[in-house]
């Protein structure tokens, strides 16, 4: 079997802000093979989002190691970590986090442009992605002029602008109505397949979770296949 794209090795995460430390998970092992799509379910507060943030290098484990592409994220110097965030993962959140002062096209191309891709090239790629998410006609609009579903589709396009091997999605349809949620789910899964991406999806939606290759449940700090 190939080396996993994402790997958790005996990862413990605890919060010590209170007198009694809160342990989210202890000595957790997890591996995600390249090209697979995996969903992670669990009740609120079990640490699903923290799990995803550890995978994205936005948080550090209390002990253990998180490896992305064979490199331990928490030991990376700042410069390499930024590069990994830019090129290694694409993030989609429950809230779109589009920059309100920028048009849809600018929102999509900014991560690439800031990462050093020439603007013309970044714009070309952003336009292609906007076409794939059905927002070509809305490229000049600002986030305030879009519906919730459209904002989330723009966020999907933004997540793929740097062509990252891994897409991390944290309840991407959590804020959407049924019809828009279905639309975004279809789109996310189709884009992951079309672009040969690996997907780690956090969701409360069993149906959505059932559409991924593997499904896990995080319960009381333990990962269980479901």
């Amino acid at each position: 079997m190939n080396e996993p794209l994402l790997e958790f090795l005996r990862v413990t995460k605890e919060f010590r802000e209170t007198a009694e430390p809160v342990v989210l998970f202890r000595d957790l092992d997890f591996a995600l093979q390249s090209g697979h799509s995996v969903s992670l379910m669990g009740e609120s507060g079990t640490g699903k989002s923290t799990f995803l943030q550890l995978a994205a290098g936005l948080d550090t484990p209390s002990s253990g190691a998180v490896l992305l592409g064979g490199r331990e994220i928490s030991s990376l110097p700042e410069k390499d970590l930024n590069e990994l965030r830019a090129q290694g993962v694409g993030l989609v959140f429950q809230f779109h986090f589009l920059l309100k002062e920028f048009s849809v096209l600018e929102n999509v191309l900014l991560p690439a442009w800031l990462a050093g891709t020439p603007r013309v090239k970044a714009t070309k790629r952003a336009l292609e992605l906007l076409e794939q998410v059905g927002l070509s006609a809305r490229q000049g609009h600002f986030p305030a002029q879009l519906s919730g579903g459209e904002k989330q589709r723009a966020a999907l396009a933004r997540a793929l602008i740097n062509d990252p091997p891994l897409v991390l999605a944290d309840e991407p349809t959590g804020n959407l109505d049924e019809r828009n949620a279905a639309l975004v789910q279809d789109l996310l899964l189709r884009l992951v397949v079309d672009h040969h991406k690996t997907l780690l999806l956090v969701t409360h939606d069993k149906v959505f979770a059932g559409r991924t290759d593997l499904s896990y449940r995080l319960t009381a700090g333990k990962l269980e296949r479901s």
Partner: protein, 398 residues
């Protein structure tokens, strides 16, 4: 820094102005511009007055280099004229006297004896002696500063008496009074000279009012700013000790020192506006960072480093500071020109015919740099807030 950061900064700046009208960046811009305008115009007027005084003193009173010597030989004068960089050498006298007129006025005065052809030989002197009536005195004649003539009630063609103590030694000093016809009144632009100066032909001065100790040689240079080291060359040319030669800035050092202190104090006081506006910008930029914390969290999560994001907010300060410096400098320049031509002061009520205003390039640059630096440093310090944005926390709890 790449263009994307500049794009981000400019969009934030424009957007904040658009959504908040007279936002903090605009008020900072206005404050800084006002500071630059005030500093430039105040200093230009101070420069105008100071340079007028300095030029008058330098060209008329002290000359560029003054050589105090009891009896200069023609040979020494010729040697001085032969030194490269020397444009005029005048054998003169400077003594004290009591001046009175038929109208009954009396005043203490400085009597300067100028050699024949002084105005043609020394163009600087000629340029700064503005003859309000008459002209340079001939034998038997005298010229008075305009303010002195006015005080004494002297009139052209009238009699002016000069009284001085003369004699070989202190115990033999006796008053000598000589009468002259008033041939002209002059103005130098510096009241103290116009109120105390009397000009006589050198021969007249030496004949009755000035002794050997009152002799001096006034030397003018092509470049007055070279005076301090030209003294040495002149001393070598004459074979005299350098201590006998005094440069214009040395001769008037107390006065120039006072002018410099006055200007520095004014710069510091008015310059405090940059501190106040800088503080305003600092707090507004801190607020801007907080307002954009979700954007910043997302941009950091997508790989933009905190230091580059700090640049976005620092750039805003740089933009505000640079725009204020450019606009303020241009407006200050226009105001300085206007002050010189508006005739704010009546020449009848005040001694000055117009407000002199001169902008000095070094000072204009220093003010612009201070303006840009205060805004940039304030924004740069405020941008440290970016480091406090923990992307994971913000994105999780938004």
């Amino acid at each position: 820094m790449n263009a994307a950061l500049g794009f981000l900064a400019s969009r934030y700046l424009v957007s904040r102005r658009k959504h908040r009208g007279m936002g903090s960046s605009v008020s900072s811009f206005v404050g800084l511009s006002a500071g630059v305008v005030v500093l430039n115009s105040v200093l230009s007027v101070m420069n105008g007055f100071q340079l007028t005084y300095i030029e008058s003193l330098m060209e008329v009173s002290s000359s560029h280099i003054r050589w105090s010597t009891a009896a200069p030989h023609q040979e020494a004068l010729r040697a001085l004229e032969g030194v490269p960089g020397v444009v005029a050498v005048l054998d003169e006298t400077e003594s004290q006297s009591l001046v009175s007129t038929e109208a009954g006025g009396e005043r203490g005065a400085v009597v300067r004896g100028f050699p024949p052809g002084a105005l043609t030989r020394d163009r600087g002197l000629a340029a700064h002696l503005d003859w309000e009536s008459g002209g340079m005195p001939q034998m038997g004649e005298v010229a008075l500063g305009s303010a002195l003539a006015h005080t004494l009630g002297a009139y052209l063609g009238g009699t002016v008496r000069l009284t001085a103590l003369t004699g070989a030694g202190f115990s033999l000093l006796a008053p000598t009074t000589l009468e002259y016809r008033l041939a002209g009144t002059f103005s130098t632009g510096y009241y103290d000279l116009d109120a105390t100066w009397v000009i006589l032909p050198l021969a007249e001065a030496l004949a009755g009012l000035a002794g050997p100790q009152d002799r001096l040689v006034a030397i003018k240079l092509k470049h007055p700013e070279d005076a301090s080291w030209m003294r040495i060359k002149l001393a070598e040319a004459t074979g005299r000790p350098p201590g006998e030669f005094r440069s214009w800035d040395e001769f008037n050092s107390a006065f120039y020192g006072a002018l410099r202190t006055e200007k520095t104090s004014m710069m510091v006081l008015v310059g405090l506006i940059f501190l106040v506006v800088g503080a305003n910008l600092y707090f507004s930029q801190k607020r801007a960072v907080l307002e954009h914390r979700e954007d910043l969290a997302l941009l950091r999560a997508t790989g933009t480093s905190a230091s580059r994001l700090r640049l976005v907010f620092t750039l805003e300060g740089l933009t505000v500071g640079t725009s204020a410096a450019v606009v303020g400098t241009l407006a200050g320049w226009a105001l300085s020109l206007a002050l010189g031509s508006l005739g704010l002061f009546s020449s009848e009520a005040f001694y000055i015919p117009a407000v002199p205003a001169r902008m000095v390039v070094d000072e204009v640059l220093a003010i612009a740099v201070a303006c840009i630096a205060s805004a940039t440093v304030a924004a740069g310090l405020a941008s440290a807030q970016v480091l406090r944005v923990a992307p994971g926390e913000v994105l999780k709890h938004a």
